[in-house]
C-alpha cells in the first residue's frame, strides 16, 4: 500500500535540501489535497500560513477522526505514524513553526503511549528543534472541525467559530496555524520523497453488513461493484452511505467513486468511508441511528442544528412507532432541508442529508413503519418494541 511506504526521515532531508519554496512547488505539482474532507490544496494552505505575518506559527495534526464509518486515520497511526510525524516536521520546516500538536481523538487514547515514543524517536533522530505535543480530545465529534479543534487545544469549549478570520492566518492563540489531517501529513512526506507517488490513490474505510470490513487502498474512480466484491457482503445489498454526511443512497454497482459522484448537495468528501447496508435493515432504523449521532454530537451553538437535529430524531422515532402521519414526513423534509441550509458549520450543514436522501430513495421503508409500527424486521426483538 502506498500509504504504508516509510520515508525514514529522507523526505525531511530532501525538503531541507530543496528549501521551503521548492517544497511548496513540488507539493503543488504532485497535486496533494487535504484528506480530511474539504480537499483543499495542501501547498496553498501551507503557503498562506507561511506568508501570514507573525512571530510564531503552529502545525496541528488533526487526528480527531470521528465520522461514523471512518477509521483510516487510526490505521495510518497504527502502522505508519513515523511518516506522519515526519510530515508534521516538514510542514513545521516549511512554515517555520516550532510547536506542533497532535489532536488525538479521545477514543484513541490507547494509541497515545506508542505515539509519544515515536515522536520522541523521530524528533531526536531528525535533529530539528521542534516540539510535538499530543492533546487528547474529550470525545466531541465537532472538535474534528478545525475552528472547534483550535478552541479545544487552547482549552476553551470546542465550538466551531465563525470564519473569517481563517485558522490558517489566525488560529491557535491568534497565530497562523496549519491544521492537516493524519493522512494528509503522511502523504505530504511521501509525495515529497517518492516520484511515483499517486494523488489518485485514496484510503477507503469499508464497513457495514459485510464480512470483510477494513481499510483498503483504492484509486479514485473505482466502481462500486469492485468495492462490493472486496467487502463481501453477507446478504443482498439495499443501500450505501458515504459516511453519515453523504446520506443514504441505493446501491449502484456501476457508480464510479469520485468526489463528484458521492457529494450530495454541499457535503464535502475527502474521507472515503463506505457503509454498506443489506436488505435485512429498514432504512428508517439507519436514519434513526445517524440522527441520534447528530443530535448527540451537535455542539449546541446554532439554532437549526441544536434544535433541528433533536426534532428530526423525534420525528423519525415517531415514524418507527407507527404514529406518524404523512404530514410528519413533510415536516421532516422541511426540517432536514432547513438544518442543511442555515447551520453554521459543516456538521450542521450535512445533518439533514440522511433524511433527505432516505425520504427520496426509500420512502417505502418509511411507509412500512407508518402502516404497521416497527414491522417484522430481522434481528429485532418484538417484545422490546413494546
Amino acid at each position: 500500500m502506498q500509504i504504508l511506504r516509510e520515508t525514514r526521515l529522507e523526505a525531511l532531508e530532501k525538503a531541507q535540501k530543496l528549501g521551503a519554496d521548492a517544497v511548496l512547488e513540488l507539493l503543488e505539482k504532485r497535486g496533494l489535497e487535504g484528506r480530511g474532507g474539504a480537499a483543499f490544496s495542501t501547498a496553498r494552505k501551507w503557503k498562506t500560513c507561511k506568508s501570514a505575518p507573525a512571530d510564531e506559527r503552529f502545525v496541528v495534526c488533526n487526528a480527531d477522526e470521528g465520522e461514523p464509518g471512518t477509521f483510516k486515520d487510526k490505521f495510518v497511526m497504527k502502522h505508519n505514524a513515523e511518516t506522519m510525524i515526519e510530515g508534521m516536521l516538514i510542514c513545521a520546516y516549511v512554515i517555520g513553526a516550532k510547536r506542533c500538536y497532535i489532536y488525538l481523538r479521545g477514543e484513541y487514547e490507547y494509541l497515545r503511549k506508542r505515539l509519544l515514543e515515536q515522536i520522541d524517536d523521530v524528533v531526536k533522530r531528525s535533529g530539528v528543534d521542534v516540539t510535538i505535543e499530543i492533546v487528547r480530545g474529550a470525545g466531541a465529534y465537532v472538535c474534528g472541525e478545525r475552528t472547534a479543534l483550535v478552541q479545544s487545544i487552547m482549552g476553551y469549549r470546542g465550538n466551531p467559530q465563525y470564519s473569517p478570520p481563517n485558522i490558517t492566518t489566525c488560529g491557535l492563540w491568534g497565530k497562523p496555524t496549519v491544521v492537516n489531517n493524519v493522512e494528509t501529513l503522511t502523504c505530504a512526506a511521501q509525495a515529497i520523497l517518492f516520484d511515483d507517488w499517486d494523488p489518485k490513490i485514496r484510503l477507503f474505510s469499508i464497513s457495514g453488513n459485510v464480512t470483510k470490513p477494513d481499510v483498503y487502498e483504492l484509486p479514485l474512480g473505482v466502481k462500486m461493484s469492485s468495492i462490493i466484491d472486496i467487502a463481501k457482503p453477507k446478504n443482498k445489498l439495499k443501500a450505501m452511505s458515504f459516511g453519515c454526511f453523504g446520506g443514504i443512497m441505493p446501491v449502484d454497482p456501476e457508480m464510479a467513486v469520485t468526489p463528484d459522484t458521492i457529494c450530495v448537495e454541499k457535503c464535502q468528501h475527502g474521507a472515503y468511508s463506505v457503509i454498506l447496508i443489506d436488505e435485512t435493515n429498514n432504512v428508517v432504523d439507519i436514519a434513526i441511528s445517524i440522527a441520534s449521532f447528530y443530535a448527540y454530537e451537535s455542539c449546541g451553538k446554532c439554532t437549526p442544528c441544536r434544535e433541528g437535529t433533536i426534532r428530526i430524531l423525534d420525528l423519525l422515532k415517531k415514524v418507527k412507532r407507527g404514529e406518524a402521519v404523512p404530514k410528519d414526513l413533510d415536516t421532516l423534509r422541511e426540517l432536514a432541508a432547513h438544518v442543511n441550509d442555515t447551520s453554521l458549520c459543516g456538521l450542521g450543514q450535512s445533518a439533514g442529508n440522511h433524511v433527505l436522501t432516505s425520504l427520496l430513495h426509500f420512502r417505502k421503508d418509511y411507509e412500512a413503519y407508518m402502516k404497521g409500527g416497527a414491522g417484522e424486521r430481522a434481528g429485532e426483538n418484538p417484545q422490546k418494541r413494546q
Binding site: A140, E297, P304, T331, S343
Partner: protein, 558 residues
C-alpha cells in the same frame, strides 16, 4: 472605506465593504430581526435569525460582509421561511408577550411572522431563585448574550454554556446555583436577555404587603439615577428627568415618606472625602478605591481580596441613608425604629444582595429596581404621565448636584473632588466641572493638587475596564469603580433599552440636572450640615464610623 457596488433587494447601491450586511440594511431602514447580535460584542452568529440571501446562499447578516457585485435579498420566501422556522425551533413554547415586560423576543415574533409552533416542549429545567438574580432556563433561547456580556464586558465569567446539542444550556460553574459562584450580581445579563429568562428577584409583593400593614411606617428612598431612567418605562424618551413625578407616584403608592438617596450620596462624599484627606495625612495606603457600587465590592471580594486595605470603608449611599432613617430620623420623628420599613428604589440588582449582607444589619429592608418601581406604579393604577411634580420630604430630602451625578460613571469621583478640594484648601473651587472624567470612555483619568501634592485619580466602569485599571493602579491615589457600563445609569435594574444611544442620553440628563441645582457640593447640603451638627459630630467621628462604615469579607469563588 472600501466602496463596492452591490444589489440590495434588486436595487443597485454603493456601500462600504467593511460594514456588516446588517449595518448596511439598517442604514437603509430595512429591518432585520436579530437575537444574538450585540453591537459591542464580536458576532457569534448562533441564533440564525438575521439570515439574508447572498448570491443564492443563506448567510447571517450579523457576521457577513458584502462582496463586490453580490446580490443581497432580505425578504425572499426562502429567507422568511428560514427565519420563521428557526424562531419556531428556538421557542417551542411561545413567550408570553405582555406590554409591561416589553420583551425583545415579542418584536421578533411579529417580525418573523410566527403564530403557532408545532414542536412539543422537551426542556424541564428548575428555575433558579437567588437573592438578586432569578434565572429560568426553560425560557432561554440560547442566544448567549448574557454569557458574552458576562465574559467580555464584565470580565466576570460567572455563566457559560454547559452540555451540548439540544441539552446545551446556560449554567454557572459546575451547574451550581448562581448564588454559590463568583457572580457579582450586576444584572447586565438581565439587560441583555431578549426573552426575560433572567430577571431580578422581585420584591414587589413584600413591599405591597408592608404598605398594607398599618403598624409599619414605610419609608422609600430613590437613587440618583432612577429619576433619569424611570420615564422610559412610561413611554417617555430616554434622558427625561422625572424627579417630581416619581416622588408624586411614590406618595400615591402609599409610602409614608419619600426620601432622596442623594442625601446619602452627600453623606458618602463627606465621609469619603475626609477619609481621603486622612489617608493623605497618614501617607496611604493609596490608591483609595470607592465602594459605592455593590457589584464592584463583590468583584473585589471574589477576585481581589488583597485590595481590602485600599477600599474606602464607606457604605453605599442608600445604606447610609437607611441607617440615618432608622436612627436620626426615627429619633427626631419619635418613631420606633422597629416599625420603620426602608425601601430603596435602585438601578441595581446587586443592591438587593447588598441589603442581605449581615454586617449591614438590614438598614434597608427591601430594594426595588427601577423596572420594579415601574411595575408597582402600573399595578397601583397610577397614570404616571399626568402626575404633578412634587418635592421630597424635607426631613431627609435635600440634595446637591454632587449627589445627582453619582448616577454616572465618574460622578462619585467628581463629587468627592469638589468636597475634598474645599475641605483641604479651605477656599472655593474655581472650576467645578471635572470634564475629563465625564463621558462613556472605559477608563478616564485626571489630576488635581491638594495640600501641595498632586493627586492622580481615575475612573473605570464595566468589569473588564475595572480589571484593566487595576493592572496599573499604583500610579493613582484615588480610583472610582463602577461595575456597570456607564455607571448606575446603565445598571442592571434600569429599564431595558435597545437603542445604544440611551446610556449617553441618560448621562447627559444627569449632568443637566447637576447644572440646574443651586447647591452643587455635598458639604453645602443643609441637612447634611444639620445631621453632623445635631447627631454625628464630624465626618469620621465614632458614631459616624459605627453607622456609616463597613468592612469586607473574602469570598470563595466556587
Amino acid at each position: 472605506m472600501i466602496l463596492m457596488k452591490i444589489k440590495l433587494n434588486g436595487e443597485e447601491i454603493e456601500v462600504d465593504g467593511r460594514k456588516l450586511l446588517l449595518t448596511i440594511c439598517e442604514e437603509r431602514k430595512i429591518v432585520i430581526p436579530t437575537l444574538c447580535y450585540h453591537a459591542s460584542l464580536f458576532p457569534e452568529a448562533r441564533c440564525r435569525i438575521c439570515l439574508v440571501e447572498m448570491d443564492g446562499k443563506l448567510v447571517t447578516s450579523c457576521s457577513t460582509k458584502p462582496k463586490e457585485g453580490c446580490s443581497i435579498v432580505t425578504n425572499s420566501e426562502r429567507v422568511l421561511k428560514a427565519r420563521r422556522l428557526n424562531m419556531e425551533l428556538m421557542t417551542p413554547k411561545p413567550p408570553s408577550c405582555s406590554k409591561t415586560d416589553d420583551l425583545e423576543v415579542c418584536d421578533i415574533y411579529s417580525q418573523v411572522g410566527l403564530n403557532n409552533t408545532r414542536f412539543p416542549e422537551l426542556r424541564n429545567y428548575k428555575p433558579e431563585l437567588g437573592a438578586a438574580v432569578v434565572r429560568d432556563n426553560n425560557k432561554c433561547v440560547n442566544c448567549g448574550r448574557c454569557v458574552r456580556v458576562c465574559a467580555d464586558i464584565q470580565a466576570v465569567h460567572a455563566i457559560d454554556f454547559s452540555s451540548r446539542g439540544h441539552y446545551e444550556h446556560v449554567a454557572a460553574y459546575s451547574e451550581k446555583h448562581l448564588e454559590n459562584v463568583a457572580c457579582i450580581r450586576c444584572g447586565q445579563c438581565i439587560l441583555n436577555c431578549p426573552v426575560g429568562a433572567i430577571s431580578e428577584r422581585s420584591h414587589i409583593e413584600e413591599v405591597v404587603a408592608a404598605l398594607g400593614n398599618k403598624k409599619k411606617h414605610v419609608v422609600v428612598q430613590t437613587a440618583p439615577s432612577v429619576r433619569v431612567a424611570l420615564g422610559e418605562l412610561f413611554g417617555m424618551p430616554a434622558g427625561s428627568i422625572v424627579t417630581g413625578k416619581m416622588v408624586a407616584a411614590l406618595r400615591r403608592c402609599g409610602f409614608a415618606k419619600v426620601f432622596d438617596v442623594d442625601l446619602g450620596a452627600d453623606m458618602t462624599i463627606m465621609e469619603e472625602a475626609s477619609e481621603l484627606l486622612r489617608r493623605m495625612e497618614k501617607g496611604g495606603p493609596f490608591p483609595m478605591i470607592t465602594t459605592c457600587c455593590p457589584g464592584w465590592i463583590l468583584m473585589m471580594e471574589f477576585f481581589y481580596p488583597h485590595l481590602f486595605q485600599h477600599m474606602s470603608t464607606c457604605e453605599s449611599p442608600h445604606e447610609m441613608l437607611g441607617a440615618l432613617t432608622k436612627t436620626y430620623y426615627a429619633k427626631k420623628a419619635g418613631i420606633d425604629p422597629e416599625e420603620i420599613v426602608v425601601v430603596s428604589i435602585m438601578p441595581c440588582t446587586a443592591k438587593k444582595f447588598e441589603s442581605t449582607r449581615p454586617e449591614l444589619h438590614s438598614k434597608v429592608d427591601y430594594v426595588l429596581t427601577t423596572r420594579e418601581l415601574g411595575k408597582l406604579i402600573k399595578m397601583k393604577g397610577i397614570d404616571f404621565a399626568s402626575l404633578p411634580d412634587e418635592e421630597f420630604d424635607p426631613a431627609l430630602g435635600a440634595s446637591t448636584g454632587a449627589a445627582v451625578i453619582f448616577g454616572a460613571s465618574g460622578g462619585v469621583m467628581e463629587a468627592a473632588l469638589r468636597t475634598a478640594y474645599e475641605f483641604s484648601e479651605k477656599k472655593p473651587l474655581g472650576k467645578i466641572d471635572f470634564e475629563e472624567i465625564r463621558g462613556m470612555q472605559g477608563i478616564k483619568e485626571g489630576k488635581v493638587t491638594l495640600q501641595g501634592k498632586e493627586i492622580r485619580y481615575a475612573c473605570a466602569h464595566g468589569g473588564a475596564n475595572a480589571r484593566k485599571l487595576l493592572e496599573n493602579m499604583n500610579q493613582y491615589h484615588f480610583i472610582e469603580m463602577m461595575a456597570c457600563p456607564g455607571g448606575c445609569i446603565g445598571g442592571g435594574g434600569q429599564p431595558i433599552y435597545r437603542d445604544p444611544d440611551t446610556l449617553r442620553k441618560r448621562m447627559e440628563a444627569t449632568y443637566a440636572a447637576d447644572r440646574g441645582m443651586k447647591l452643587r457640593k455635598s458639604h453645602e447640603n443643609p441637612i447634611v450640615q444639620q445631621i453632623y451638627k445635631e447627631y454625628l459630630g464630624k465626618p469620621g467621628s465614632e458614631l459616624a464610623e459605627k453607622l456609616l462604615h463597613t468592612h469586607y469579607t473574602k469570598r470563595e469563588r466556587f
